[in-house]
Amino acid sequence: MTEHHQHIKLPEGSIEKQTTTLNVGPTHPATHGVFQNIMELDGERIVSTESTVGYIHRAFEKIAERRPLYQITPLTDRLNYCSSPINNMGWHLTCEKLLNVKTPKRVDYLRVIIMELARIADHLICNSIVGVDTGAYTGFLYVMQYRELIYEIYEEVCGSRLTTNIGRIGGFERNFSNTAFTKLEKFLKEYPSVLKEFENLFTRNRIFMDRTMGTGAISAERAMNYGFTGPNLRAAGVDYDVRVHAPYSSYEDFDFSIPVGKTGDNYDRFLVRNEEMWQSLGIIQQAYQKIQEFKGEEAEVYHANVPEYYLPKKEDVYTKMEALIWHFKIIMGEVDMPKGEVYHSVEGANGELGFYLISDGGRAPFRLHFRRPCFIYYQAYPELVTGGMLSDAIVTMSSLNLIAGEMDA
């Protein structure tokens, strides 16, 4: 046969090769996000893997260099979009640190409620997706209605569900409505039994245990060297939690414990997230109780007094001179921020979400860098899966809670 008739041109050496190359992603249902793994397989065993990220890079750090502070909040929504409120709050807290804004206690507690709800929503998705990837779809569908309830609470507070843009510098854009609190009460009442049922489906399930125990494991030392934070680090046995190590938003007022695992495998990650949901529930209950203790005027406070950065009420803008001036100045970007460099971090659902903000005294940051936990720990993925089975690598991927939005910024 002449070369003319050869339709398929195979790469050099591909016939002799003993392993199979498999592209997992970038748009594969099992990756739950847009990223690619080029795996070399010997049968079903992974010989090596190379990760490619960046498919949804949106240049947030660059965009932020031309935006006033309050317009950067929507960018943070789109990092870990499973728990946007935590990102939003992290950003507000960073700005407040730079601007030296003290928030009232009620604002702190309201924020804690929203952040812990977001943590529950995030962990719920992660853990139920681990279930889906091990072949148990029921749990995922079942808990979805409680994530829905959490989203309805967001909706009551800020008007949107996924990319929330919740809160403002100094507090919230409006006070929580009664409906928000009613829905929160419903959540607090019904969710514990649902989480218990969810646990019953998985925690002592023989199939689930066999699939997750011993797979995707990492030692505490390796995890720290790889920059793991959050539940993934705690599953390996390191009790590092930003909420305890550097309390923000009055977390020091709450009584909660930090669950830690031992082996750092998929099962421990599942258990740590599961226990964190219980802890978050406890924090929300405490915060709600504290909020109910505020009386009179204090019970109506939902933002700090920072007219330079906090947009005044619309009716005030139309009727009061000062409010009109501030409104104009904020919208037109005439409020300069002080010079300085701050690093502030919050305990995101995936770990330490950090904001490194450099201000040269202008209206927009001179430089803003997001420390995205997911991006940092994903580089350990080859080490976690090499030598294991392909099907376990998929579970490891979902149990690390890789969110493409956070990875790619």
Partner: protein
């Protein structure tokens, strides 16, 4: 719950304060570490870029300092500082004592060579790739220094200040009045 919560006087005396860190570093490196400042409670200092690994290694190995967790690594572009246009910024954390610090090295933009910290911290691998991708910092000794978030074909480093976000030749919009012109 908090590791190193001071429950007796000895521990309080031994607490790793910013002053103590500065003292330890100056004892070891003398004039090679400089620019100490504290902003918002965080100690920040500089070293020449040739010494970045020595300093990171010392911070890591020293029993008392023990900065063994690399929280963050990124770069900043200062176009107006001749010879010091690029800064590589390390945020380190001593988890046991719960102290953070910021360490910077500056480099010129013509030969932006800085030694890689990826041998010391696995986490630095991708963070350095990201920094290379956006600022063009050449991490000498990095095992796989290629772009990570942008396409491989890109022939510039987009986070440098010379690349403005919007087309500066636009005439339909006057930005002079509103912030950065």
């Amino acid at each position: 719950m908090l590791p190193g919560t001071p429950d007796d006087l000895n521990l309080i005396e031994m607490a790793l304060t910013n002053e103590r860190i500065q003292q330890r570093l100056t004892e070891k490196f003398g004039d090679l570490v400089f620019g100490f400042e504290e902003s918002y409670g965080l100690l920040s200092f500089e070293a020449a870029k040739e010494n970045n690994l020595k300093v990171l290694q010392f911070l890591n190995d020293d029993e008392e300092l023990g900065f063994r967790f690399l929280t963050d690594l990124c770069a900043v572009n200062y176009p107006d500082q001749a010879g010091r246009e690029l800064a590589v910024v390390y945020h380190l954390h001593n988890l046991a004592e719960n102290v953070r610090l910021r360490f910077k090295v500056f480099t010129n933009i013509q030969t932006p060579d800085v030694f890689t910290a990826s041998k010391l911290f696995n986490s630095a691998n991708w963070m350095e790739r990201e920094t290379y991708d956006f600022f063009g910092v050449n991490f000498v000794g990095h095992p796989n220094l290629k772009r990570i978030l942008n396409v491989d074909e890109m022939d510039y480093f987009p986070m440098r200040k010379e690349f403005p976000l919007e087309d500066q030749t636009r005439v339909d919009k006057d930005d002079e009045m509103f912030g950065r012109g």
